[in-house]
Subunit: 239 residues, 2 copies
Amino acid sequence: MSKPHLHTVLSPRLLDIYDCSNSIVVIIDVFRATSTIATALYNGAARVIPVDTVDKCIAIGKATSGITAGERDGKVIEGLAYGNSPAEYPRSFIEGKTLVLTTTNGTKLLHMALQAGAAEVITGSFPNLSAVCNYLIAQGKPVVLGCSGWKDKFNLEDTMFAGAVISRVKKHFTIHCDSSLMAEEMYTKHKNDRLAFITQLTHWHRLEKFGLEKDLQYCVTEDIANVLPLFKNGDLIAG
Amino acid sequence: MSKPHLHTVLSPRLLDIYDCSNSIVVIIDVFRATSTIATALYNGAARVIPVDTVDKCIAIGKATSGITAGERDGKVIEGLAYGNSPAEYPRSFIEGKTLVLTTTNGTKLLHMALQAGAAEVITGSFPNLSAVCNYLIAQGKPVVLGCSGWKDKFNLEDTMFAGAVISRVKKHFTIHCDSSLMAEEMYTKHKNDRLAFITQLTHWHRLEKFGLEKDLQYCVTEDIANVLPLFKNGDLIAG
């Protein structure tokens, strides 16, 4: 039997070039949305509701008695209670609660994947790398690794996470895709110097002025919040 | 004085995210359009007219007494005289003539760059790497390295050419762009094993069944047709 295909999509703008039907789409937004989602669910959040606008975040937060959260350019958005840092969601705070999270890049891609007919949507980040890989291997369906990028631009942190997944799952999939080949090579090259390498990335320069170095280092640490966020009926829940 | 910016665009779909005004846009379509353009001009073609449809190619070929050329999927298009292989355009054949060339990916990006307000458009490929780099350094304007890709998908051969340019010109430009960082790293990693590495790329698999291995090897050889193709009033001419 032939193995299912795996493709890597380097920007939301490129998603519709790929066939997402019957596929599992992995939403990747390493700095920091999908790392925060994994952390909140790992620490016992009942669910995370990803929304694309601040107004929706406030309205759904009120309707669900949820915690509203979101950032633009490293700052908490006015009208919301919390930010987009994994460090804000320890078990003592988040357990049993609903987190309503608005992010730009990751949430947009998630909704695009649903519109493109994805069979399933999950989220991936280094903190939950193994959970993602184990799920993809167990399901045996076609996979699209969707990098959220930054305002539709390519970024290396999302690409390297795609590469980390590929390096672990590749023998279970058919992979004929230059994006995937590049992603795996960039991950392999920098997996052991990643803390130094991420200081060269554009997103680092954008966020370091807000004192977020520790956050970014957390976001490239593997398996410290090893849970599988599954999107079901509008919610991300621990699978 | 601050140095001009340089960005790398990994797919035509991403071009409009970048500011092309006042910039030199380098159109890159390594397999094989821009390698063929460099070769024809290097071998004395009076001009190359890039067109986006077969009908235009035939009409302009008739009006200019030019040589009509173009391929789809490695085969000469019905109604046109020649293909998209650099080997078809030695000096003994092309000198003094007009070549009307229709390609999908490269020509599309060229017209998009003009619409985006590019100050100048040139074409780049490994056979004319030095000419491109010398021109970019001499002009001192902002640069956009535009990878044509394949049907809007990312490809590694165009990306690696962008990386080759960056490795030579970077000290003259301000480069804060993950695409450029990745492109240079992929080029540096594979510049010495490129003949082996290109056999792993999707485009190789697409074209090798047409027996085009020699063409593809030619297309990753540096400076064997070292001319600068400049786009002026609808024509590409040797600068």
